[in-house]
C-alpha cells in the first residue's frame, strides 16, 4: 500500500468507524426503546430549547431576506381587514387584547405566544414569512392559500399595529365589539342566517357600513348563482384565499344557498371611502368595457358582465377598483384557474396590460352598483 509508511491512519479510521457504528446502534436502541419522553407536559432541556430557538430565529431571518413590504402596509383599512381574520384565525390559539388564552391552547408545547409584541420582536417581512409559511413542529400552520400574499400582508399590517392596542381598540378594530363576543365569531352550518350575514358584513359591509377594505367587495345586489359558485369554490379550495376558504368551508351547502340568496336580494351598501377615480382612466376603461379592443383580441367586458347575462358572470358595477384589479391579476397569474369560468376569463385577462387593467377597474368602480341593466356591449358605441 502506498500509505503503508503511516500505519496509524488505518487504526484511526477503523476506530472511528467502530465509534460511529456504536453511537448509531445506541441511538437506534434509544429511539426504539420508547424511553424518550415526547410529552407536551414536560419541558425541553435548556440546551435543547436554546438550539431550537436559535435555529428558528436564524431560519426566519435568512428566509425572509428579499421580501418587500407593499407600499400600503400602514393603510388602516388593510389592518382592519387583517384584524378580522386575526379574531377568527389567530386569536383562538394566540389570544388577543380582549380575550385571554384558551386553556387548551395554553397547554400546547411550545405554547402559542401572545402576539401583542410580535411586531417589536420581528420585522414586517419576518412576520410575513412566519404567517405565510408557518413553523414546523410548533403547531403554527401555513397560510391556506400560499398564492395570496396580499392577504398575508393584511395580517402583518394588523400585527404591526397590535403593540399599541388596548382591549377596547382591538374590539373596535376587529369588529368584535358591541354585542358580539369573540366566541360568536365562528361560522356554523346551523347558525341563523341573520347571524351569518352579520359576520359576512363585518368585512363586506352592510346596509349601514361600507366594506372594511376594497379586497372584501360589497356583496349586495351581486348575482345569486355567482355568489353560490364563489362560495362553493372557496369551500372546495378551487378559488384560493386564506381568508375566504375557512369561512366558506364552515358554511356548508344550505348556508351557502341562503347567504347567496340573501345578498342577491339585499339593498345596496353605501359606497366605500373610494379614492377619487381618475376620470381619464375611467373613460379609457369605458371604451374597453363597452367595445373591447379588437386589435388586441380583447372582447367587451359588458358582453358578459351585465345584469341580463348568465347568473354565473358577476356584476362588476360599483366594485372597488382594487378588488377588480387584484382579481384580474389573479386570473393572469393562473391563481384563479379552478373552474370552467376561470378558463374563459384567464386568457382574456392575459391579453390586458397593467394600464388596461387599471383603466377597466376605474371604470367599473366609478359606476353605481345599480347600473349595468340593459347596458350590454356596443350600446354606447352606436350612439
Amino acid at each position: 500500500m502506498s500509505w503503508g509508511g503511516v500505519p496509524g491512519w488505518r487504526s484511526i479510521a477503523s476506530g472511528a468507524a467502530i465509534v460511529l457504528l456504536g453511537a448509531g446502534l445506541l441511538g437506534g436502541a434509544f429511539i426504539l426503546s420508547g424511553l424518550y419522553n415526547v410529552a407536551a407536559s414536560s419541558n425541553h432541556f435548556d440546551i435543547t430549547n436554546f438550539i431550537i430557538r436559535l435555529t428558528l430565529a436564524r431560519s426566519v431571518e435568512t428566509r425572509s431576506m428579499g421580501i418587500e413590504p407593499p407600499p400600503d402596509l400602514s393603510d388602516e383599512r388593510l389592518a382592519r381587514l387583517g384584524a378580522r381574520h386575526f379574531a377568527l384565525g389567530c386569536a383562538p390559539c394566540h389570544a388577543s387584547p380582549s380575550t385571554s388564552q384558551n386553556p387548551i391552547a395554553a397547554k400546547m408545547y411550545p405554547a402559542p405566544p401572545p402576539l401583542s409584541h410580535a411586531a417589536e420582536e420581528w420585522d414586517a417581512e419576518e412576520l410575513f414569512w412566519i404567517v405565510k409559511h408557518g413553523l414546523k413542529f410548533t403547531g403554527m400552520p401555513a397560510w391556506p392559500a400560499l398564492e395570496r400574499d396580499e392577504e398575508v400582508w393584511a395580517l402583518v399590517a394588523f400585527l404591526e399595529r397590535l403593540p399599541e392596542m388596548e382591549g377596547r381598540d382591538y374590539a373596535e378594530f376587529s369588529g368584535t365589539g358591541g354585542e358580539r363576543s369573540a366566541s360568536a365569531l365562528t361560522f356554523a352550518p346551523d347558525r341563523a342566517l341573520e347571524e351569518t350575514v352579520e359576520m359576512c358584513g363585518s368585512c363586506h359591509g352592510d346596509a349601514r357600513n361600507p366594506p372594511v377594505h376594497p379586497l372584501a367587495p360589497p356583496l349586495a345586489g351581486q348575482k345569486e348563482a355567482y355568489l353560490r359558485r364563489a362560495l362553493s369554490e372557496y369551500a372546495a379550495g378551487r378559488r384560493p384565499s386564506g381568508i375566504m376558504e375557512p369561512m366558506a368551508a364552515a358554511l356548508g351547502p344550505s348556508q351557502i344557498e341562503a347567504v347567496a340568496q340573501h345578498y342577491a336580494r339585499a339593498s345596496l351598501s353605501p359606497p366605500g371611502t373610494s379614492v377619487d377615480a381618475d376620470a381619464d382612466a375611467a373613460a379609457r376603461g369605458q371604451a374597453i368595457a363597452m367595445n373591447g379592443l379588437g386589435e388586441d383580441g380583447i372582447p367587451a367586458c359588458r358582453s358578459c358582465h351585465a345584469a341580463e347575462t348568465s347568473g354565473q358572470f358577476p356584476r362588476l358595477d360599483g366594485l372597488p377598483a382594487e378588488y377588480i384589479a387584484t382579481q384580474l391579476s389573479l386570473f393572469q397569474s393562473g391563481v384563479r384557474a379552478g373552474s370552467a369560468y376561470s378558463a374563459i376569463m384567464a386568457p382574456i385577462a392575459r391579453r390586458l396590460s397593467k394600464e388596461q387593467i387599471e383603466d377597466v377597474a376605474a371604470y367599473f368602480a366609478a359606476r353605481s352598483p345599480g347600473d349595468g341593466t340593459g347596458d350590454t356591449a356596443g350600446s354606447e358605441a352606436s350612439q
Binding site: P299, E308, A377, G378
Partner: protein, 330 residues
C-alpha cells in the same frame, strides 16, 4: 436503358400512389393560374429525371464500361460540355420558362378581376369579405367561394404576423404581409371543393389554419352571395331559440358577429351563416352539429393555442341547443 426507363415509370407511379391528387394537391389543378404552373412543375420534374438518368449512365460507364468507352470519357469535352454548356443551356431555359409563367401571373393580377374579395390572415383563421350584390361588405370566414370561369381579384392582408395564402388547386401561394395589400387573381376552371392552407409558419396553431375553396357555377354563386349578404335567420324551433338565448347569455357576441342580432364583434370569425360552411375552426373540424358542441367545450384540444377560450360550463343539453342554433345559421 430500358431498365432505367422502368424506374422513371415507378417514380411517376409513386407520386400517384402517395395521394398527390387530393383536395389540397397542386397536382390536380382546377384554376387558371394553377394550370399554367402545372406544366412548369412537370417540365422541371422531367428535366430533373432525365438529367439524373444521364449522370447515372455516365457514372456507370466510367465505373464498369469497356476500356475504350472509359478512355473516351476521360477527355476535356465532358467537363466543358456536360459541366458548363449543358447546365447553362438547360437551367437558362427553365429560368426563362419560370419567368414567363410568373410574368403571366403578374399580368393576370394587373387585369381588373370582376368583384373583389378581401382576405385577412388572423391568428389562426381567415376573415373573408366579399362585396355583396349592392356593393356592400359581406363578412364571412374560413371559406372562399368562387364563380367558375370568372377572374376574381383577391386582396390579401394581415393585421398580425406574416401568413401565406395558398389554395394549391387554384393558384400559387402569396404572402400576407402586415401593412401591405398583396393582390392575386383567382379563376376556377371547374366546379368543386378544394382545400387551402397557411403556408408560412405563423405561430401556435399554424398547422390547423386551413380553409376550403368552393368553386360554383356563376348562377349558383350569385344566389349564394345573395343569401350570404342576408342577416342571420331567426331560430325556428324551441331548441334553436334556447340555443340563441344561451349564445347571448354567455357572452358569445363578445367576439363573434351574427348579423341581424346585437352580436357584432369581429374579434373571432363571423357566424352569420356558419351553419352553411363546410368546416369549423378554419377547417380543423368537418362541420356538423356535434362538431359545434365539441368545438365550444373542447376547442383547446382540437386546435391547441387557438384564441377562443374553452366554454366547459355547459351541460350536454345546453351544448346541443347551442349547436342546434349555430347549425341553423345557414
Amino acid at each position: 436503358m430500358i431498365r432505367v426507363g422502368r424506374g422513371g415509370l415507378l417514380l411517376a407511379l409513386a407520386f400517384a400512389a402517395t395521394g398527390c391528387s387530393g383536395v389540397q394537391s397542386a397536382l390536380s389543378p382546377s384554376g387558371v393560374e394553377a394550370l399554367t404552373i402545372d406544366p412548369l412543375f412537370w417540365t422541371s420534374t422531367w428535366v430533373g429525371v432525365v438529367v439524373t438518368l444521364m449522370v447515372v449512365v455516365v457514372v456507370a460507364i466510367a465505373l464498369y464500361g469497356p476500356k475504350d468507352w472509359r478512355a473516351r470519357l476521360g477527355g476535356n469535352w465532358l467537363v466543358v460540355g456536360g459541366g458548363i454548356v449543358f447546365p447553362v443551356v438547360v437551367l437558362t431555359g427553365l429560368f426563362i420558362y419560370g419567368l414567363l409563367v410568373m410574368q403571366a401571373g403578374a399580368l393576370r393580377s394587373q387585369e381588373a378581376g370582376e368583384g373583389t374579395v378581401t382576405i385577412t390572415g388572423k391568428l389562426w383563421w381567415w376573415e373573408v369579405i366579399y362585396s355583396g350584390p349592392n356593393g356592400e361588405e359581406v363578412v364571412s370566414a374560413n371559406e372562399l367561394r368562387l364563380p367558375v370561369g370568372r377572374a376574381v381579384r383577391l386582396r390579401l392582408l394581415s393585421d398580425n404576423v406574416i401568413h401565406s395564402f395558398w389554395a394549391p388547386q387554384i393558384a400559387g401561394k402569396l404572402d400576407m404581409i402586415p401593412g401591405r395589400v398583396n393582390e392575386v387573381v383567382f379563376e376556377a376552371t371547374k366546379p368543386g371543393v378544394s382545400r387551402g392552407q397557411c403556408a408560412e409558419y405563423c405561430g401556435g396553431a399554424h398547422a390547423l389554419m386551413s380553409f376550403y375553396v368552393v368553386a360554383m357555377e356563376e348562377a349558383e354563386y350569385a344566389a349564394w352571395l345573395q343569401r350570404e349578404a342576408q342577416p342571420a335567420r331567426e331560430p325556428a324551433t324551441p331548441e334553436e331559440t334556447r340555443g340563441r338565448d344561451l349564445f347571448f347569455a354567455n357572452g358569445c357576441g363578445a367576439c363573434h358577429q351574427v348579423r341581424g342580432t346585437e352580436a357584432r364583434s369581429l374579434i373571432g370569425p363571423d357566424l352569420t351563416h356558419v351553419g352553411s360552411r363546410l368546416s369549423l375552426g378554419a377547417a380543423a373540424l368537418e362541420n356538423d352539429p356535434q362538431a359545434f358542441a365539441r368545438w365550444i367545450a373542447d376547442n383547446q384540444h382540437i386546435k391547441p393555442e387557438n384564441l377562443m377560450p374553452p366554454f366547459r360550463q355547459f351541460s350536454d343539453e345546453e351544448l346541443s341547443a347551442l349547436a342546434a342554433y349555430l347549425d341553423s345559421l345557414e
